[in-house]
């Protein structure tokens, strides 16, 4: 049961990320997200990395509440958010933007697909247009692109 909650939250978070990305980051918080698209920032850190706190704050609150209530469902929701956040940073920083030169030669079609879709998202420098706001899940056409290639 608890495992299901964690798993469900991770899926839900993908949806929430899409919404946050589509309507908030490309909405009134565009000022924070813009430098992730046009790379206008100086230094390694992007203002966009403050996205960090959007994941961290609710996770901390839920984990705390959950432990207080003897590991109620709150704890597992918090855990789900944390795990999703960790996956997000891992995949986004390591595979997609390749801030380090590791896994550059991956042949894994899933990683190639999300990288491709994210690049597609990055193509748009403006706030209004855009596509592929999702993150770990991307439109089927990108999967098709790489899974069929073999």
């Amino acid at each position: 049961m608890n495992f299901l909650i964690v798993f469900g939250v991770c899926i839900f978070m993908e949806g929430a990320t899409w919404l946050i990305h589509r309507y908030i980051m490309h909405g009134f918080l565009w000022c924070l997200h813009r430098d992730h698209h046009d790379h206008s920032h100086n230094g390694k850190l992007e203002r966009n990395d403050l996205f960090f706190f959007i994941f961290a704050s609710p996770a901390i609150a839920l984990l705390y509440l959950g432990v207080k209530q003897e590991f109620s469902y709150c704890f597992f929701i918090g855990l789900g958010i944390s795990i999703y956040g960790m996956a997000y940073f891992f995949v986004h920083d390591v595979f997609i933007h390749q801030r380090a030169k590791v896994f550059t030669k991956t042949k894994n079609p899933y990683f190639l697909a999300i990288r491709r879709a994210h690049k597609q998202h990055h193509k748009h420098l403006g706030k209004e247009e855009g596509e592929c706001f999702g993150f770990l899940w991307v439109p089927v056409k990108y999967f098709k692109m790489y899974f069929n290639k073999k």
Partner: protein, 229 residues
Amino acid sequence: MMPYTYLLINFFTVIICFLASFDRRIQFNKLFGKFLLSSTIVAVPFIIWDIWFTAKGVWWFDLNYTLGAKIAGLPVEEWLFFYCIPFACVFTYYCLEKFFNLDWANVLNNLIVFTAVIFLSVTGILYYERIYTLLTVIVTIITLCYLHFIAQKEWLGKASFVYLLLMPGFFAVNGILTGSLIPSPVVNYNPDDFLGVRMGTIPVEDAVYGYSQFLLNIYFFKKITKNEK
């Protein structure tokens, strides 16, 4: 022999790194002065913390393992500790950075800070009445957030990886101090003031506070050695 225990721990922590410093390829001996300056900057707040907690009874020292001389309530060996440990740490980091490319680890910066902040915050809020736990959590969160978001240092991942490599040494030194291999601990902890979770004999808080002390030592050492240009 017994009164030399703590002194010898300090000595063995330093000696190999010290001798290796004079190696022609390393030449860390040229940086001794800069190291002393940077480690003093870091030592000051941590020694104040130490004096405060010793006075408060959060921990206390078994003086049978020391020569007996004290400054501000701390055995002289404890003062040396704030130079010996950082010396071994900074030296190791310096060498590894010089001879290996560990930049790949920096890709994990966001992930490390994210995970640590969540984990530490929750622990801190849950056990806020345990003062050693609380202060360790606060210091580490501030250190990580400062280095990552404000100073924007790229080497967090690399340094964390080196800290991981230093763990065997940490377990040896802190293990003995907290009572492994010797009949009773050199440093004793008040059970009401920390989580009580120990790795072997070492309270987890020691490893976490050691992490922030390590990061700050690297930070100031890098800052000071870069100024020479």
